[in-house]
């Protein structure tokens, strides 16, 4: 299963390899499409591929580290 997500990293997590750790632990393949880092935040748009259960765990682990995880298409509930 593939998921397109937008991640926003708080300043204190920018230097940490959080994506690598999550990918390794939950057997998820990340494919980065866009990214930028400014003085006080990091933003990354990527595709994550893995089993549904692992993707759920992986995303949960990112959120637990303070990384904001959003849908690439934004909120669709209007």
């Amino acid at each position: 299963m593939k998921k397109r997500v937008k991640l926003t990293f708080p300043q204190e997590r920018i230097k940490e390899p959080v994506i690598f750790k999550m990918a390794k632990k939950y057997d998820i393949m990340p494919n980065i499409r866009r990214a930028r880092v400014t003085e006080d935040f990091g933003e990354m748009i990527l595709e994550l591929e893995g089993t549904e259960a692992n993707l759920e765990k992986g995303i949960k682990s990112l959120k637990a580290k303070g990384v904001e995880v959003e849908l690439v298409e934004g909120d669709v509930l209007e």
Binding site: T8, R33, V72, E73, D75, V76, L77
Partner: protein, 412 residues
């Protein structure tokens, strides 16, 4: 024949053929419709537009359809009300209200975007349309879709107010009430849109759907005698309406129907859900998602898809943004109704209240012409005013009782 060249990624510029797709396969940026403006310039004149029926389709060359309009033939071309009384009260010279409280058939500007989305869905050959909504969009897809003969799937959070559910159910769509948070509904609908071959109006049809918003801008210009206002104040949820109003002005300029555009565009949001206004005020193009907590439910989009593009449009135009409290929203709704006789939904209160703040800050000049976009009817969200209005006068069915209360009223 239409005048669409194709779809183009707003981020990397990659081009795609017209199809029900919405993100760039390469950078995941949003896709936008690209037009053949030189060709449109040759065929579209003010006279031609003015000769057509008064609906949003009078600008059909600037909309992303190939054939003739098929849905929402009576939608759009709402009044541009010169708000003399309200202007005087606020010390303004020239104030107009673009009154989308009266769009046909479901009384919000969503009837514009859905008319375009469902016409495109017909052209693509879909038999089922869908959306996820907390109100206005659901009503419009349910109503337009019924008349156009589509199967309809409408997803709502199960906690939605009964009045909003009824205003969808009456059109007999398949209404799916999802038990979960707003985030859960967002996630689920994205998954469903990717799996089923449906026209999900604001997901896979989004590039076409969003173009319908431009008609509000075209109408403002035409109704002002083919002039753009000095300022326009637009409520922001996803930010799409603001970006499309800005696009509409630039397009009219490009095809020679409007002179130089000097309009400043302003974003209006609620304090309890103001990620776009916050970015504008902080002068950053980083839109930080928020958890909405506001009485303005129709603007409660915490992760706005077009937030960054709304920010860019505001900056490009030299405009600004402001957010307002729930109390300011309610007060502005009452002011609009008391002065101009227009009962707007809470989003209308947001727009007017934000304009008042921007005037106080000197960001909108009182001597310039200003248009505020009022996007939905207050009859749909009456509960927002509960406890905020004067009570009615109860009397016995006696003449003396009436005279007694009349004296009390006259003393006020």
């Amino acid at each position: 024949m239409g005048h669409v060249l194709g779809l183009k990624c707003r981020e990397c510029g990659r081009e795609y053929e017209v199809a029900p797709i919405y993100v760039c396969e390469f950078c995941f940026g949003p896709l936008e419709v690209a037009y053949d403006y030189p060709k449109i310039k040759k065929v579209l004149t003010r006279k031609k537009i003015e000769s057509r029926p008064m609906s949003l389709w009078r600008y059909k060359e600037l909309l992303p359809i190939d054939g003739e309009p098929q849905v929402g033939l009576s939608s759009g071309y709402t009044p541009l009300v010169k708000a003399g009384k309200l202007a005087r009260q606020l010390g303004m010279k020239e104030l107009y209200i673009k009154d989308d409280t009266v769009v046909h058939p479901t009384l919000s500007f969503k009837d514009r975007v859905v008319a375009v989305a469902l016409t495109k869905a017909k052209e693509f050959g879909f038999d089922t349309v869908a959306c996820a909504s907390t109100g206005n969009l659901a009503h419009s897809v349910a109503a337009h879709g019924a008349r156009a003969g589509f199967n309809r799937f409408i997803f709502i959070p199960s906690t939605l107010e009964k009045s909003k559910i009824i205003a969808s159910l009456v059109y007999n769509p398949n209404l799916i009430a999802v038990d979960g948070s707003y985030d859960d509904v967002n996630r689920l609908c994205s998954e469903i849109a990717n799996k089923y071959n449906w026209a999900f109006v604001n997901i896979n049809i989004r590039p076409f759907y969003a173009e319908g918003s431009k008609t509000q801008g075209y109408e403002i210009v035409e109704q002002l005698g083919w002039k753009a206002p000095d300022n326009v104040v637009v409520p922001c949820a996803s930010g799409s309406l603001l970006t499309k109003i800005w696009k509409s002005l630039l397009e009219l300029q490009k095809i020679g129907l409007l002179g130089d555009v000097r309009t400043k565009v302003f974003a209006a949001q609620a304090e309890g859900c103001g990620p776009i206004a916050e970015a504008i005020k902080n002068d950053t193009d980083v839109i930080r998602p928020v958890k909405p907590d506001t009485v303005a439910k129709s603007l409660a989009i915490g992760n706005p898809a077009d937030g960054v593009y709304a920010y860019q449009a505001v900056k490009e135009s030299g405009g600004g943004g402001e957010d307002v409290t729930d109390q300011e929203i309610i007060d502005a709704m009452k002011l609009l109704a008391e002065t101009e006789g227009i009962f707007a939904e809470t989003a209308g209160g947001v727009t007017l209240a934000a304009m008042i703040k921007l005037i106080e800050q000197g960001k909108i000049n009182k001597d310039e012409s200003t248009v505020i976009c009022i996007t939905g009817n207050g009859l749909k969200t009456q509960e927002a005013l509960l406890g905020h209005l004067d009570e009615e006068h109860h009397i016995e069915p006696k003449f003396s009782a009436f005279e007694k209360v009349l004296k009390k009223i006259e003393k006020k």
